[in-house]
């Protein structure tokens, strides 16, 4: 299953790119599992996701919780807590 990932802010910088397409194995079923799977790549990925409490995600047009399923998602955005306003 190919998923388009979007990275923003500190996470984008640590990983060194703003988007990529990945194909995680079937057992990677939730956002949290996707983050674990990415972090396991080490390097910038491990750094980007070192503190899981500072990772947020969006699927479609809304924020989602870590236990949100990624099945069927074409695009998942991963980013730090927002700091606009």
């Amino acid at each position: 299953m190919a998923i388009e990932l979007l990275y923003f802010a500190r996470i984008r910088e640590a990983i060194g790119r703003s988007a990529e397409t990945v194909s995680p194995p079937a057992e990677v079923a939730t956002v949290a599992a996707l983050v674990d799977w990415l972090a396991a790549r080490g390097g910038g990925y491990a750094e980007a996701f070192a503190d899981r409490s500072r990772v947020r995600a969006a699927i479609g047009d809304g924020f989602v919780a870590p236990d949100a399923p990624i099945a069927g998602a074409r695009e998942v955005a991963l980013f730090p807590p927002v700091t606009g306003g």
């Binding site: 979007l6 923003f8 802010a9 500190r10 984008r12 500072r54 969006a58 047009d61 809304g62 924020f63 695009e75 955005a77 980013f79 730090p80 807590p81 927002v82 700091t83 606009g84 306003g85």
Partner: protein, 153 residues
């Protein structure tokens, strides 16, 4: 009450007077606003505002709609800039028009609290000495936003 919702995400500055005049013209009698401006100091040279283009407008519209669902409003305006901004430049405008001042003021407060915690923007600070750092989300912003979870008026 059907609120006129105006949401904009842009790099350009906005005209606060013109935006508020648009809200005044809705006939409610009460218009409240909040304007956020880049604060200088500590050698800050510029703020860089990154956002999630595909998501930002939808999230801001949803926040504006939520305000209109909670208070009897005639209009809601939310404008947020992105890109590079220097101290003194405006970042964000949240404003509401209503028949009653409490609704306009509370909705404005709600809008800016939620924009700060639910709109996909990230600030990076660039300093005069060349250093830069991402602004960390503040627990007090989450607390301010959470006030509105409990309270429905």
């Amino acid at each position: 009450m059907n609120a006129t919702i105006l949401v904009r995400v842009q790099t350009a500055d906005f005209d606060v007077g013109a935006e508020l005049e648009r809200l005044e013209a809705l006939g409610g009698g009460a218009v409240a606003s909040f304007t956020g401006v880049v604060r200088g100091g500590d050698g800050l040279e510029a703020l860089e505002l990154e956002h999630h283009p595909a998501l930002t407008e939808a999230m801001m519209t949803r926040i504006a709609q939520e305000a209109a669902a909670r208070w009897p409003l005639l209009g809601v305006t939310a404008i947020h800039r992105h890109g590079r901004l220097v101290p003194g430049q405006r970042i964000v405008l949240a404003a509401a028009a209503a028949p009653h001042r409490a609704a306009a003021l509370e909705a404005t407060s709600f809008l800016i609290d939620w924009l700060k915690t639910r709109a996909p923007f990230w600030k990076k600070e660039h300093f005069a000495d060349g250093a830069s750092r991402w602004v960390e989300a503040r627990a007090e912003d989450d607390a301010a936003a959470a006030r509105w979870d409990a309270k429905r008026t």
